[in-house]
């Protein structure tokens, strides 16, 4: 009998009502403001300047079937910048899995400077993000899940900005190649493993949590949650990467964690693979016994 893991994924249903209240009921004067904290990945067009991350807050003012997007703490260089877009139509999709508000073509100027126009502004606010409620000791993540604004826009010819969630859960398929104790090679496909990346933007490090870790069918026990602590985060032109070598994971046990040298991660890497940073690929080597690859997303849609 298949036993469902108690660490089952759920969508961020809590926030769905906030979005569904915007369902059109024929009243064009209906108003709502949604505010979310997010991380900006800012990529300067100057290739000599490395992309960087900064935390920020976006407000979405919805009135009727239009919305405006604003922020007051977008770091461009070393300065805080702000903008308010004009009204842009949005569409709302509600399903059992969650709610998504989608919009395109928001316009405006950063710092009201016509030389810094907003271009190619696309985005969505989604509540259909994965989440596991079980607390992990020593991890400072987002306590209460909220919907995620996934934005991408250009600022003139100067910058490209993408937003992502600093505490994201990734689900997908892990394929592991292993050699058993008899020397036979095998592969194992597992859709139960969930990965969580919690990024400390200040320190540019990430804690990666691997839930339901099982890398081979004959592995004695499934590990409820193992943590790879303080891995370096590196920005790239169109995304970011988390890597690490020779990591002894910590396993959640009781109210604390215990090192587990039986599963040494000789190498680990996580790289964003989509333009809006919601999709990642991972590779890892556990003690030269398990070679794994993962591809997955943190938003259902």
């Amino acid at each position: 009998m298949k036993i469902k893991s108690s660490l089952a994924l759920g969508a961020v249903a809590l926030a769905a009502p906030l979005l569904t209240s915007c369902l059109g009921d024929g009243d064009d004067n209906r108003e709502q403001t949604l505010v979310y904290n997010i991380v900006n990945l800012v990529t300067p067009s100057n290739a000599d300047v490395k992309p960087y991350m900064s935390t920020g807050t976006y407000s979405f003012y919805l009135k009727g079937s239009d919305l405006t997007v604003s922020t007051a703490d977008l770091m461009l260089g070393t300065s805080k910048s702000s903008f308010v877009t004009g009204e842009t139509p949005y569409t709302q999709t509600v399903s059992a899995l969650g709610t998504v508000i989608s919009f395109n073509g928001c316009s405006g100027n950063v710092n009201q400077d016509s030389s810094l126009p907003l271009n190619n502004f696309s985005g969505r606010i989604t509540s259909a993000a994965y989440y596991i409620s079980t607390a992990v000791p020593g991890i400072t993540g987002i306590a209460t899940p909220t919907p995620v604004p996934v934005l991408k826009y250009n600022i003139g010819n100067e910058y490209t900005v993408r937003t992502f969630c600093r505490d994201a859960y990734y689900a997908g398929t892990t394929t592991t190649h292993y050699t058993d104790k008899d020397g036979n090679a095998g592969s194992f496909e597992n859709k139960d493993i969930v990965y969580r990346a919690v990024i400390d933007v200040e320190k540019m490090t990430a804690d990666v949590v691997i839930y339901n870790a099982q890398f081979a069918p004959q592995q004695p026990q499934k590990i409820t949650a193992m943590i790879l602590k303080a891995l370096p985060v590196e920005t790239m032109a169109n995304g970011y990467r988390i890597t690490g070598e020779d990591i002894i994971p910590e396993v959640v046990e009781g109210a604390a964690t215990t090192p587990n040298p039986k599963y040494p991660f000789k190498k680990f890497s996580m790289t964003t693979t989509s333009d809006n940073l919601d999709q990642v690929a991972m590779e890892f080597n556990v003690g030269d016994r398990y070679h794994g690859m993962f591809s997955g997303v943190y938003c259902l849609f």
Binding site: M1, K2, I3, E253, N260
Partner: protein, 746 residues
């Protein structure tokens, strides 16, 4: 058997023979002996089941006496496709009919005793004296009899004080079963009121020995008291009441390890039970309508204490105690039969049962080492753990209130030789599980110090205190249509299409495993169970398609009943032992299954005093679709279901042998069962086996004396097989038994 015992029996036999005359028992009778009371089956269906579109077997008192049947397990295989394996203890009444059955929780076959529907399957296995008849209706009876009659219905009627007055005494002794006795007093006050009081007691020393301490495992003491009253204040009104108290103290669970071939375990196993029931039947017959009310109260209190690993090792033990009260009310309203072509009945049924249960599992030294420490340490050997103590308890307490309501109707149209019936029942049931599980223990994580020694790193407390409530409700429509054609007054053929239903509910046995996995989760390993997934299970529903015939040849000298059936079952409830080292059993809904087969019952009386009987059942029951998450069992045979049941019997009575011996009856019979698969993968099975019995009954004017042998050919067979924690166990069938029974009617 002691010499004293033999002498007593011989004296009693002689006394019996010299007493004044009373009519001796006939060699064979298929007629119900003076059933002067309201039977629920007769009210809802008919007192003449051979004239109904149903496959039914009726076993009357003479046959019950010939076979020494005192419990329904004794009829296993005697009735075609009716199989009750004898294993475990009296808490276990696993009945399979036509491939439909259940090992735990809800029964698939309903049981009425003197009209009282027994709600809890834990109370199904009891000894009952002075049974007049046992009716076994095969196929779904859900439309008229409701929940948990998906595979059929057993209706037991005991002797009425209006039919017999005087004393009825019986005593029996046998190898490994030193004593079984009963005394019944039947008295009639005037024409309209009768009362009966029957007490019975049995003591058994058991068949199976625990190799660990050389004690007999399955000793038993069983006491039963029944008080039955019947009052007919007028020709229109009948009132009967049957109250019953039963007390049981039994060892049990003689499971032998397949590896060693021995039964050996070190912790106590027993089953104690007290049952109380009372059933009040009121029947009023007016000029045009009749109304029957059947009200029952039932109480069961039992204690199942188990060495749950069945090994001479300290793994874990279970002490499951429950108290349950239940009330039922059934009302049947129908017109008086005026010979018209249209008849109908309306009915309503309600019940409530409330179950309180505690089921603490005590983990002991070996269990802590093998199931907890080793599992945790295999995943992190560099930081091993040591448990705080070598014994701790996982506590579980449950309250399960369940109630239900049903309304039903049946219409019958008689058109010359054709008889059409259509019925429907709307059945609603609501059940709630309130649970409280707790555990307080802990362990220390060790680390390797500089000198290579293990030192404590930190302590991890394990404090679990989970409370919750789950509810389920089920609403089901249960239709039935039948067509019967009278070939002649005594012969008919029929078609029956009906829906069967077995309630869903909660399997509390899995809670210890839920807790164990929760505990492992605290240690950072394993997969936690979702309570809704492993504890709750859905109702089982089936469609039964059946054609059959009841044929009478040669003026009743040859009776032939036959049926062919096809059953499609959805969400069949199967008991499985989950993977790994868990202990409980999961009730899971196994996708889809189907059964097809047939039954034939032949009774021939070629000569006066001779009766030949053959009952055969064939069931081909397989999974249409069943994937348990690891393996696909589609196409495999259902486990624990015998493919064939066979009963052959030859009786001959020599009449009037002497002036004091009015009859001498020889009986030779054989029961055949199998093949039975023991697992869903069909890799293990029990081949068909045949068990022979013989008896000789000396019938006097006031009773009879019988010597008998069961399993004459000492066949070795297995009645049950299972795997728990990777260990294989089985229970062997009973060896040869030789016994004597004396029955005296004064």
């Amino acid at each position: 058997m002691s010499v004293r015992c033999i002498l007593v029996l011989t004296v009693l036999s002689l006394w019996c023979a010299s007493s004044r005359a009373q009519t001796g028992a006939k060699a064979d009778s298929t007629q119900v002996t003076g059933l002067e009371e309201v039977s629920v089956v007769a009210v809802k269906q008919s007192s003449s089941l051979r004239g109904q579109p149903v496959a039914a077997s009726i076993v009357t008192a003479p046959q019950l006496n010939h076979l020494n049947v005192v419990a329904i397990k004794g009829l296993s295989d005697v009735v075609p496709n009716f199989y009750i394996p004898d294993y475990g203890s009296r808490i276990t009444s696993t009945i399979y009919v036509r491939g439909i059955g259940a090992r735990i929780d809800q029964p698939s076959v309903g049981l009425n005793v003197d009209n009282v529907p027994v709600l809890n399957k834990n109370a199904y296995d009891f000894d009952l004296s002075d049974m007049v008849s046992v009716e076994m209706l095969r196929g779904p009876q859900s439309t008229l009899f409701g929940r948990n009659t998906m595979a059929g219905l057993i209706n037991i009627q005991t002797l009425s004080p209006m039919s017999y007055q005087g004393w009825r005494l019986s005593v029996q002794t046998a190898t490994n079963n030193p004593f079984r006795g009963s005394a019944g007093w039947y008295h009639r006050f005037g024409r309209n009121f009768g009362i009966a009081a029957i007490a019975s007691f049995s003591a058994s020393s058991g068949f199976y020995t625990n190799d660990y301490d050389s004690t007999k495992l399955d000793r038993e003491r069983l006491f039963n008291f029944r008080l039955k009253a019947q009052w007919n204040p007028s020709r229109r009104l009948r009132i009967s009441n049957a109250a019953n108290i039963g007390m049981l103290r039994q060892g049990g669970y003689p499971y032998a390890s397949v590896q060693t071939g021995k039964i050996s375990y070190n912790d106590t196993c027993f089953y104690h039970r007290v049952t109380v029931s009372d059933g009040l039947t009121l029947g009023y017959t007016g000029d045009r309508f009749s109304l029957t009310s059947i009200t029952s109260y039932q109480f069961i209190s039992d204690n199942l204490t188990l060495d749950q690993d069945f090994l001479p090792l300290d793994y874990f033990t279970l002490m499951q105690k429950q108290h349950e009260t239940g009330v039922t009310q059934d009302l049947v309203f129908k017109p008086v039969d005026d010979g018209g072509i249209y008849r109908w009945l309306f009915g309503a049924f309600a019940f409530h049962r409330h179950q309180n249960m505690t089921a603490p599992v005590t983990f002991k030294n070996q269990g802590i080492s093998s199931l907890i420490e080793d599992h945790r340490n295999s995943s992190n050997p560099d930081y091993p753990i040591q448990w705080d103590s070598r014994s701790f308890v996982l506590n579980s307490n449950f309250r399960i209130p369940t109630w239900g309501l049903a309304a039903y109707h049946e219409s019958r149209l008689d058109l010359d030789r054709w008889h059409f019936t259509a019925g429907v029942r709307l059945d609603y049931e609501h059940t709630t599980l309130k649970y409280h599980s707790d555990c307080s223990t802990g362990y220390t994580i060790m680390q390797t110090g500089g000198g290579g020694e293990l030192t404590p790193m930190r302590h991890v407390p394990v404090d679990i205190d989970d409370r919750g409530e789950r509810s389920r409700h089920f609403l089901t429509l249960l239709p039935k249509i039948t067509a019967l054609y009278d070939i002649s007054a005594d012969d008919n053929v029929y078609l029956n299409i009906s829906k069967g239903y077995k309630s869903g509910g909660f399997n509390t046995q899995m809670f210890s495993d839920v807790l164990q996995q929760r505990l492992m989760g605290i240690m950072g390993v394993g997969a936690s169970y979702d309570i809704d997934d492993v504890v709750g299970y859905k109702p089982e529903q089936s469609w039964n398609f059946e054609v059959g015939a009841h044929l009478d040849f040669l003026g009743g000298r040859l009776l032939l009943d036959g049926a062919l059936f096809y059953i499609y079952c959805r969400d069949q409830q199967l008991t499985m032992f989950p993977d790994g080292t868990t202990t409980g059993r999961i009730m899971t809904n196994a996708g889809k299954t189907r059964s097809w087969g047939g039954e034939a019952s032949l009774t021939v009386k070629p000569l006066e005093g001779m009766a030949l009987r053959a009952n055969y059942g064939y069931t081909n029951a397989t999974f249409i679709h069943f994937f348990d998450g690891h393996d696909n069992f589609s196409g495999n045979a259902l486990p624990y279901v015998p493919r064939n049941t066979l009963f052959l019997q030859a009786l001959y009575t020599f009449p009037n042998v002497t002036s004091w011996l009015s009859g001498l009856t020889f009986d030779i019979n054989m029961k055949g069962t199998g093949r039975i698969y023991w697992n869903e993968a069909n890799t293990l099975h029990q081949n068909m086996y045949f068990v022979t019995g013989i008896s000789a009954t000396f019938t006097g004017r006031r009773g009879d004396f019988q010597v008998w042998v069961r399993n004459l050919n000492s066949v070795s067979y297995d009645t049950f097989y299972f795997v728990s924690m990777g260990n294989e166990f089985l229970q062997r069938g009973r060896p040869r038994e030789i016994g004597m029974t004396l029955r005296i009617n004064i």
